[in-house]
Symmetry: C2
Subunit: 325 residues, 2 copies
């Protein structure tokens, strides 16, 4: 990443790092500062600011919305980590572990409100539209988290339900970030909607790729244990596709491994990957990733701007999708 | 309560009862419907709508903000009940007990977002000002809850700190509800600010009265066990005033009862009430209630409207403050 993206990201980080946190009550605001400084890719604000730039908007005018989506995203992480019982986030202790659950609940709440407080700074001509989109998206992200939690307690999940869940939990915020940037820059509604579709498709492709990388990623580059989802019986796109396509005999083997409580980790991973190979799951998932990637590209192409202007955004989005697998 | 207040409340309840909840994900929205239908006084939306009426506003234009403050208030109850480990709310099981903590966190989150979604419906000319006030208030309510939780773990709390806590936790939302109604009706900023002061003062007086009623209330009308705060070692205004005024000997007795883990409930209540009597705490608290009540009355008097127009709001507010003690 260089030039315009790096410059935009630097500007965002500079502004984000100069946000002053109230000193009192100290134990309400310290966890917010903590989670905000754990780093992360700053993907959502970057997409928002790039989209705004794409349509000739000024970065200062879009900055409040960029801060809002980043704070909103970090709010969801703080609350999701409680619900998912997650001990670590970006290599550090999660807020509910480092402090306690009550702190993570209340600091998360105030973070969500502060995200809205950034939106106050938007120009009144764009505020209603951005506000409406932000609200809609926030509701959907909560719905996605609810579906994700529900799936854990269910034996059967359809592939279609899974796609709906990842769309809500991941894609809509990427999509809305892009669209907000376009709205603030004064893009017409057709182009703004197309940009939303770009984000929606990229988000799904990205999430499917994440599932694929769990099995087929290069561990040194991927940064997670290969097969972690398999060991955790996580209902990934790979598992759901395998369950849909398995013969009775293969279904029995899948159930055997899902139900077995004591096993050699490597043996379980190898058995499941073996089943995935028999069922050609890798190719099926790659085909789906391709489908959504093409959907994103088509929407981007249809946006009424010279191709050369859209190149940077295209490159950034496809960097997300060309990881080591 | 009759005529205009009853009519406004009926209209609010009719609208609130016709809100349709999404059917899916069912376990995200059922708890919201549950807490919203537990009843309650609807005090905040009623104040908002009365203030709007006072300045000649149309009820339909203020209704979205009335729904927003009610949903926001119920969101805080849902999350506070988790943090306070409260089993019951308005005579029914709390959401985190009836469902579980994760449900109460996520349903609460989506409720907060939905409160903002109601604000979308406001006229764009009043949206920015109402939005800013709503955000500021929401942050303060969270700060108040944090202070309240912090006080539980502290040995010493100043009377001034306590007043700040109840101002944030209770008063600012009453005050903001009144001010939002005024803003939406097009009141000038001086009158809107005065109405805010009315709510701020009434809220503090109301909370101090609540502390007083724990000890001096008529149990059959008050609806709670007399002395409940004393048994729970709750840092009420009465206890903090007693600690400030106690002689060394009286301080020793207070500490004795605060630290004693095994006791006859009635004996502890009688001992503490005896100390309060020695220290004249009842008169001191009544004087403070009077002070804030007068503050509210002065602000109401200063509002540039005929006295007769303000009578209904005055009556409603002072109904809150003339309970059975």
């Amino acid at each position: 990443m260089f030039s315009i993206e790096q410059s935009i990201k630097d500007q965002f980080v500079a502004v984000a790092n100069h946000i002053s946190y109230p000193l009192f009550p100290e134990n309400l605001y310290t966890p917010i500062q903590y989670i905000n400084t754990l780093g992360g890719k700053r993907l959502r604000p970057l997409l928002l600011l790039l989209a705004n730039d794409l349509f000739g908007g000024k970065i200062e005018q879009a900055m409040p919305a960029a801060l809002a989506v980043e704070w909103f995203h970090n709010f969801t992480l703080m609350h999701d980590d409680i619900m998912d019982n997650a001990p670590m986030r970006r290599g550090n202790a999660t807020v509910h572990v480092k402090w306690d659950t009550n702190t993570a609940i209340l600091s998360g709440d105030v973070m969500l409100v502060k995200a809205y407080q950034f939106l106050q700074e938007l120009h009144p001509t764009v505020l209603p539209q951005v506000f409406t989109l932000f609200n809609q998206t926030a509701v959907e992200v909560c719905e996605g988290q609810q579906l994700d939690m529900n799936f854990e307690h269910r034996n059967e999940v359809d592939v279609e339900e899974y796609l709906q869940m990842i769309r809500l939990k991941t894609s809509v915020l990427l999509a809305a970030s892009l669209k907000m940037g376009a709205i603030i820059a004064g893009a017409n509604s057709k182009d703004a909607d197309l940009l939303y579709q770009v984000g929606e498709n990229v988000g799904i492709a990205f999430q499917l790729q994440d599932d694929l990388l769990d099995v087929y990623g290069n561990p040194s580059q991927f940064g997670k244990q290969v097969g972690g989802d398999i060991l955790a019986n996580k209902k990934t796109f790979l598992l759901l596709q395998a369950q849909r396509r398995a013969s009775l005999e293969q279904q029995k083997q899948i159930d055997y491994w899902l139900q077995k409580t004591s096993f050699e980790p490597l043996e379980k991973i190898n058995a499941m990957v073996g089943l995935y190979e028999q069922l050609n799951i890798r190719a099926i998932v790659l085909e789906q990733i391709n489908y959504y990637t093409n959907g994103a590209l088509e929407a981007l192409t249809a946006i009424d701007l010279p191709k050369s202007h859209k190149l940077r955004l295209e490159q950034l989005l496809f960097q997300l999708l060309v990881r080591e697998h």
